[in-house]
Amino acid sequence: MRFSKIAMLAATLLPLSSYATLGGAPGAGTSSPAILRAVSPSAVATPVQPANAAPYSLHQSIDANGVTLREYVLPGNVVFAVSWDGPIRPDMTALLGSYFPNFVNAAQSHARGTGPLVGGNDDFRIESSGRLGRFSGMAWLPRLMPAGVRPGDLQ
């Protein structure tokens, strides 16, 4: 696939810029080969909503290890949620930025043996699952979630 080759090349050349940073500006930026599209929650397909009422946009990229990264971006260019899916867990320090310690803390306080992690607090939530060979998850900032959007709505 040409796209994935370009994405992997870009990820190799620009490892930092290919990552999102939760709570900051989207790492993918306009110069990276990310998919950018405006997203409306399914509920807004009602006549009362303005036509352009997209509460967030989606940036998607694939990192050098083949992990699909998605960043969910507010109109103010702030990433309020990220997700990952791939053969390994991505570099979470790059993906979560200043919220990486929240991930570590959630794991320490919510880990139930070897099972999935569902944890966090009102500031930061994370769901992490998988096993060697295939990992996925999502982290989000509840206070920054657009009104009417639930974590499960983030496709």
Binding site: G113, T114, E127, S128, R134
Partner: protein, 450 residues
């Protein structure tokens, strides 16, 4: 705890064979040449011929591979397992294992063996992992695993960063004799985590997140007994030096990511037994809807090898993929990363209509009787409507009981496609986990059956 009797000459022969096998695979250059990668790379009958462990009857593999024509007396292939409140957590299934320095002479030779309790039984991971703190005097006697594929010298210790869903365990790969009940896997690679021998690499933390070893210690868990469908723990490391997985460490502060030979990876101990090595049965009694203070059951080794581990003709057989997963459908949604996992304490799945506690557990006002469909992806078995119930976790767990068949856990993420049948599923059932391509009757592994 009985210790196996090791015939020294057999041991030597086996070691020689193992070394020859390693050399062969190294010359072959391909990961599949080693032939013992779990699950999908080899044809494998009920008695695997890829390994000729010591301790079997007879001097060659002939008699030990003769199958089940003369089954030994029932019972030598079982070990008690238990769910109780001793760790302050619910739905954790534990067994004891005995760790010995490889080839330790005599039963429970002083200082050469340690019996470790509170080993978490996990059908969702591969291999034995033990906290170094429980083996303070034995640890130095275990053999160091060296010879990483990418180690130019070949003598640096191999250390693993094992990624789990919630974090990582970091520590040396050692060779030890692992005895569970009266079955011994001799000289197999295990992980001695949180041993402090080598600094945790940055990319282990970056990809791994939190130190699960510390979290397990805080939960009173001494280790993980990973007995899933596979023989060795990392299929990907056979071909690629994955960030945050296997390392060789020339010095304390210098660890380098490496590819691995399957035979040197942390190994499912059951696959290393001389007999009854094609899988396991977890046999737990039913518990009432209000839960139970504790539960005692059995972990049975082997499937179809003894009178106590036959796979019933009417069992539901669920084929699993190379990740140990299959498909479950729930309320019209397809979860193609579904697993039957004793290491998960709940039924874990997304349902936005059920109230959830701050801890992410379902708290319906009254117990919900739900149904999901297990849809074996091999197309050979019919979909199975599987009823299960979810109670109010907060009120259930308030009583101090440890065993519940109706704890549910919420996922909100829409794209992980995960539906986990955790330990609640196991109560009142025999759950069979077949290792690799073992053939049980007409069914070929890897599969889970119940």
């Amino acid at each position: 705890m009985k210790k196996h009797n090791m015939n020294t000459s057999k041991k030597t022969l086996w070691l020689a064979a193992a070394i020859a096998g390693i050399a062969l695979s190294a010359c072959g250059g391909g990961g599949n040449a080693s032939g013992n990668q779990g699950g999908n790379s080899i044809g494998w009958n009920a008695s695997p011929d890829w390994i000729s462990p010591p301790g079997g009857s007879g001097s060659s593999s002939n008699s030990s591979n003769s199958g089940n024509s003369t089954p030994p007396a029932t019972g030598d292939n079982t070990v008690p397992v238990r769910v109780d409140a001793s760790t302050g957590n619910v739905n954790r299934l534990f067994a004891s294992v005995t760790v010995c320095a490889p080839g330790a002479p005599g039963a429970q030779d002083a200082g050469q063996c340690v019996t470790v309790d509170k080993m978490l039984i996990d059908t969702g991971s591969t291999g034995v992992r033990i906290a170094a703190r429980v083996l303070p005097t034995l640890a130095p006697l275990l053999l160091t695993q060296a010879g990483a594929v990418d180690d130019p010298v070949g003598s640096a210790p191999i250390v693993e960063c094992m990624p789990f869903a919630s974090g990582f365990t970091w520590g040396s790969v050692k060779r030890a004799d692992i005895t569970i009940g009266s079955k011994t896997a001799s000289n197999i690679p295990i992980q001695l985590y949180s041993d402090g021998a080598f600094s945790t690499p940055d990319d282990c933390v970056a990809h791994g997140g939190g130190d699960l070893g510390a979290a397990l210690e805080g939960s009173g868990i001494n280790g993980i007994l990973g007995i899933d469908n596979f023989t060795s723990d990392s299929a990907d490391a056979i071909t690629t030096a994955i960030p945050g997985n296997y390392y060789y460490c020339p010095s304390q502060n210098r660890c380098i990511s490496t590819r691995m030979q399957a035979s040197q990876e942390v190994m499912n101990p059951v696959a290393g037994f001389a007999r009854d090595n094609n899988g396991t049965v977890i046999r737990l009694p039913a518990v009432p809807a209000a839960g139970q203070a504790n539960v005692s059951g059995l972990l049975v080794f082997g499937i179809g090898t003894q009178p106590n581990n036959a796979l019933p003709a009417n069992a539901t057989v669920v084929a699993v993929d190379k990740y140990g997963t299959f498909t479950t459908q729930y309320q019209g949604r397809v979860f193609n990363r579904s697993a039957i996992d004793s290491g998960t304490m709940s039924y874990a799945f997304p349902d936005t209509t059920i109230p959830v506690s701050a801890a992410g557990l379902y708290t319906p006002t009254s117990t919900l009787n739900l149904t999901a469909t297990i849809d074996p992806t091999n197309g050979k078995s019919a979909p199975l409507q599987m009823p299960f119930s979810v109670g109010n976790a907060t009120s259930l767990m308030a009583g101090g009981y440890a065993a519940f068949n109706n704890i549910g856990q919420y996922f909100s993420s829409s794209h992980n496609n995960m539906f986990l049948w955790g330990l609640p599923f196991f109560y009142g059932r025999d759950v069979y986990t077949v290792i690799g391509n073992a053939k049980i009757g007409n069914e070929t592994g890897p599969f889970v059956a119940f």
